[in-house]
């Protein structure tokens, strides 16, 4: 059982690391600001989400697990708000050519 949970953790964390990698590549390689914003939000949501999912079985107590989920939810909320604000500011500025 423990080996299966370890395998699950490693798989989820590996997938999360991959999304951070893909998000960085997108941020560096995509042609304009709105597409780069798209790459950034994927890394924020899925990268951190998968890392937290992988760490959940390793949490010592229910409180620790809830704290992990709370951190992820906070990043989720601020990431969504920021992406919306940046997107609106970019379109007002006409930078999305």
């Amino acid at each position: 059982m423990s080996a299966a949970l370890d395998l699950f953790s490693a798989a989820a964390i590996g997938a999360g690391a991959f999304f951070f990698f893909a998000g960085t590549i997108g941020l560096l390689r995509f042609p304009n600001s709105l597409t780069r914003l798209h790459a950034l939000t994927k890394a924020d949501n899925l990268g951190l989400g998968l890392v937290v999912l992988g760490l959940l079985p390793r949490a010592g107590s229910l409180l620790d697990a809830l704290r992990l989920v709370a951190i992820w939810a906070l990043v989720q909320l601020s990431g969504a708000a920021t992406a919306q604000l940046i997107g609106r500011a970019l379109s007002r500025r006409g930078a999305a050519k």
């Binding site: 370890d6 953790s9 490693a10 964390i13 590996g14 999360g16 690391a17 951070f20 990698f21 998000g23 960085t24 941020l27 560096l28 600001s33 780069r36 914003l37 950034l40 890394a43 924020d44 990268g47 951190l48 890392v51 937290v52 760490l55 390793r58 949490a59 620790d64 704290r67 992990l68 709370a70 951190i71 906070l74 990043v75 909320l77 601020s78 990431g79 708000a81 920021t82 604000l85 940046i86 500011a89 970019l90 007002r92 500025r93 930078a95």
Partner: protein, 94 residues
């Protein structure tokens, strides 16, 4: 298993640090801010991995603080960029 977590933490940190090239090249301030936001999220992920792999107390709380600061930094940045940008007159009618 702890080694796997630490390797993943290092990999994520190196990856998002490479994204900081965007801070140098721009072209706009928004692109620079996005790279910093990615560094913030990657830092949170790395801290959570390190907290799970080691027994140092309080590392998760540092990650929580980083999450709060990243939120405030981005929103303050967008607010300031809107008022002194080229279309400042347009920002009045929000």
């Amino acid at each position: 298993m702890n080694d796997v977590l630490l390797v993943a933490a290092g990999f994520i940190l190196l990856t998002v640090a490479a994204g900081l090239v965007r801070v140098l090249s721009g072209p706009g301030d928004f692109d620079r801010m996005m790279a910093v936001q990615l560094l913030g999220t990657g830092g949170i992920a790395s801290l959570l991995l390190i907290a799970s792999a080691t027994t140092v107390a309080g590392v998760e709380d540092v990650a929580l603080g980083l999450a709060l600061l990243a939120a405030f930094a981005s929103i303050a940045f967008v607010n300031s960029a809107r008022t002194d940008g080229p279309d400042a007159s347009e920002a009045e009618d929000l």
